[in-house]
């Protein structure tokens, strides 16, 4: 079979389809979005009736997948690293229930924070839940490991965490496919109490999970994803995790690496291989994309074993993603230099698109807020977070999905009123609705602005879960009807819109303003499609 040219994300998606999944459950988030999008666009996935509709958030995605696993079928869950925080309750407990049908959870980490608020390392979550973690180094491994992860999940009756980082998620290379495995038949777990985590059952289940730990570790040594490569120079040994292995190879182009290398692609790591590696080297260099997870284990709390170099002693920078140059320097090699960056160079930060409805929404909000002091606008995660930058400089916070509403409640409870929350339609249904219920119950003077561009725009225009339902949701939560205001964010309606903002800011209670206009990106795409369809119809008629 010909090789497919796939992103790391797409290799996981293809691997999952070929492994016989019956569903993928996800909320979009960079750098994980392309996994689900690939399955949604796949003809094969459609023919095989693989469920792939977006979930409202990562927690609902994770729970739906646990349900599918309970029913005996294979399920894939995908999210960005901070999405795993949202899904954490379900995720950690899925380790206790265990899996029935194969259950693989992909968490795409974003070291260097290209599109994120932090660079947390999902391998910690694997350790926390005490389940196996896979970490591929290249696209082919991403494909092969996904298939293996499902098999592993079913063999040990455990969910498997699959960690990938930005560079591999968004880098393309040739991938060779294997055979397509049929989907599982519907089946119930042999123990119908397995998923009931009442304390008495949970204790038993937890005991079973602890009992599997040694087997998980031994499996890492047998699977071929922990490998010890021999080297003649024993003065140093190198531990390379995931994509770090590629950067190591890059520095030895066509030459043999003189040192023993322990390549890690699966956790918990094989103690047998670590022992074999440790005993033959005088010192150790740790190369990890992310936090010094293994480095801390190698050092131990006393750090009195063989000398270890890595992120904790500054051999590798403590923060940020790796690259070939950082790894080259850590190896003590001379690395090439290009030309210095010219002083005339200027930054080009991202900004809202021309014609974006948010320009007009924030234009009106900024003007209405002039009557009050600065520092009262709490916001959220989406394109509109760019309003923090010049020229708008409208917002004062961006913490986590949904935090705009609840932080505004806290700000108002502290006495700074009126407080404003600005949140997108998709983020609102992701995690803003429950916060709005808190606000209504507390009767705090806040104004929630739900910017409704009818899509999940930042990640490329995925469906928004609350489309066509927002007013009813907000009404149902208990916001008074006369204080739910829908406006059209357009420049020519600026004065009118400012007036609406001023009225609701002056109201001593919970009000919601919904500026509603479609995202210009999805609109343009829709028009293009419509145009193309018209064209085809015409051609057909001529024929």
């Amino acid at each position: 079979m010909d090789k497919l040219l796939l992103l790391g994300d797409e290799a996981i998606a293809q691997g999952a389809v070929d492994a016989g999944i019956s569903g993928v459950f996800a909320y979009p988030g960079t750098p994980s979005t392309e996994i689900t999008e690939y399955i949604q666009a796949s003809k094969e996935a459609k023919e095989r009736h693989i469920v792939s509709q977006w979930s409202s958030n990562e927690k609902t995605a994770m729970e739906t997948a646990i349900g599918m696993s309970y029913a005996g079928k294979r399920a894939l869950v995908c999210m960005k690293h901070v999405g795993l925080n949202v899904a954490a309750d379900a995720f950690i407990n899925s380790a206790i229930t265990g899996a029935h049908g194969g259950l693989v959870v992909v968490s795409a980490d974003d070291p260097s924070m290209h599109s994120s608020q932090n660079e947390q390392d999902s391998r910690f979550y694997g350790k926390f839940a005490q389940i196996p973690v896979m970490e591929p180094s290249n696209q082919q491994e991403a494909y092969d490991m996904t298939r293996y992860a499902f098999e592993l999940s079913e063999r040990f009756g455990t969910p498997v965490l699959f960690r990938i980082t930005t560079r591999l998620s968004h880098s393309r290379s040739g991938v060779k496919r294997g055979d397509i495995r049929p989907q599982n038949e519907l089946s119930l777990p042999s123990d119908l109490k397995q998923f009931i985590l009442l304390p008495s059952i949970a204790r038993k289940q937890y005991g079973a999970l602890l009992g599997k730990q040694l087997a998980f570790q031994e499996e890492s040594g047998k699977s071929g994803y922990n490998v010890l490569y021999e080297g003649s120079d024993k003065s140093m040994g190198i531990v390379a995790c995931g994509i770090a292995y590629n950067y190591l190879l890059e520095n030895y182009q066509g030459r043999e690496i003189p040192y023993p290398v322990l390549k890690i692609g699966q956790y918990p790591v094989s103690r047998k291989l670590v022992r074999e590696f440790y005993d033959q080297v005088d010192s150790i260099l740790m190369l990890e994309e992310g936090y010094p997870v293994l480095e801390e284990l190698f050092r131990g709390i006393m750090d009195e074993g063989k000398p270890v170099k890595g992120r904790l002693d500054g051999t590798v920078p403590r923060a940020g993603e790796l690259n070939p140059n950082i790894v080259g320097s850590a190896l003590g090699m001379e690395t090439a230099e290009g030309y210095p960056l010219p002083s005339v160079l200027r930054g080009r930060p991202p900004l809202l698109c021309d014609g974006c409805p948010h320009w007009d929404s924030f234009g009106a909000l900024n003007e209405a807020m002039k009557d009050y002091g600065p520092g009262r606008v709490l916001s959220d995660i989406g394109c509109y977070t760019l309003s923090a930058l010049k020229p708008l400089e409208s917002i004062n916070s961006c913490v986590d999905m949904g935090a705009s509403v609840t932080m505004a409640v806290g700000v108002a409870e502290a006495g700074l009123t009126p407080a404003v929350a600005v949140i997108g339609d998709s983020t609102f249904t992701h995690s803003g609705m429950t916060g709005l219920l808190d606000a209504v119950n507390r009767k705090v003077p806040i104004t929630v602005v739900v910017l409704d561009n009818s899509t999940t725009a930042m990640t490329g225009g995925q469906d928004s879960a609350g489309f066509g339902k927002l007013e009813n949701i907000i009404k149902g939560i208990g916001v008074e009807e006369e204080h739910i205001r829908i406006i059209k964010p357009l420049r020519r309606l600026h004065e009118e819109n400012v007036k609406v903002f001023k009225e609701e800011l002056a109201y001593d209670g919970v009000s919601v303003i919904i500026p509603r206009r479609e995202c210009v990106q999805t609109l343009a795409r829709r028009m293009k499609l419509k145009h193309a369809k018209k064209k085809t119809t015409k051609v057909n008629t001529v024929k």
Binding site: R167, H170, R172, G338, R346, L351, C383
Partner: protein
């Protein structure tokens, strides 16, 4: 054969199309390839880049090491400067469009931007908008820049043409023809410049 190319531009300018054409051409010649892309926040009018690596041997890293790029291929002149640290001092080329994309308030004076590029030993600056317009549409400006880079890519010109036919085929013969002409215009400009 080994070529490491940094593609630079502003989100929405079509650098991924260039990457796809080069990638298809490289695959048709039996080369290996890795192509790292930028997705997410920067695509909203920010600077975007792609690391494209072609080789007859297996490629290890998805990222090109600093000072090792054989080419910076930019569809915007200020964006070509952003990757100077990546360029190989012994052999690296800068191929860029002269047409600025001014969406920042402090865009530097054009002479200063161009002066930085013309200091380099190997560069081509092409008026891609004008050449694309002359072929029928400014939309093909990115393919003009690709054409200007084509003599230095180490790929057969035919392979690039075939890749364009393959990629744009669905959009109709007019679009294919426009892009083939744009590629040619860029190629001619570079050859003329290079020899002259």
């Amino acid at each position: 054969m080994k070529k490491d190319i940094i593609l630079g531009g502003v989100g929405g300018q079509g650098i991924l199309t260039i990457a796809t054409v080069i990638g298809m051409a490289a695959l048709s010649e039996g080369l290996q390839l890795k192509q790292s892309e930028v997705h997410g926040m920067s695509q909203r009018g920010g600077d975007v880049q792609s690391n494209l690596r072609l080789s007859s041997d297996p490629i290890a890293s998805d990222l090109i090491p600093e000072g090792k790029a054989d080419m910076i291929l930019a569809v915007e002149p200020l964006e070509s400067l952003r990757y100077f640290n990546m360029l190989n001092r012994e052999s690296g080329w800068v191929i860029t469009s002269i047409n600025p994309f001014k969406n920042i308030p402090d865009y530097p004076p054009m002479e200063e931007v161009l002066a930085e590029i013309t200091k380099l030993p190997r560069y081509i600056i092409v008026d891609a908008d004008k050449l694309a317009q002359a072929q029928g549409s400014i939309k093909a400006a990115n393919i003009v820049v690709l054409g200007a880079a084509s003599p230095f890519l180490g790929l057969k010109y035919d392979s690039l043409e075939n890749a364009i036919r393959q990629l744009f085929g669905k959009k109709g013969d007019d679009v294919v023809e426009l892009n083939l002409k744009a590629l040619k215009a860029g190629w001619e400009f570079a050859n003329h410049k290079h020899k002259g």
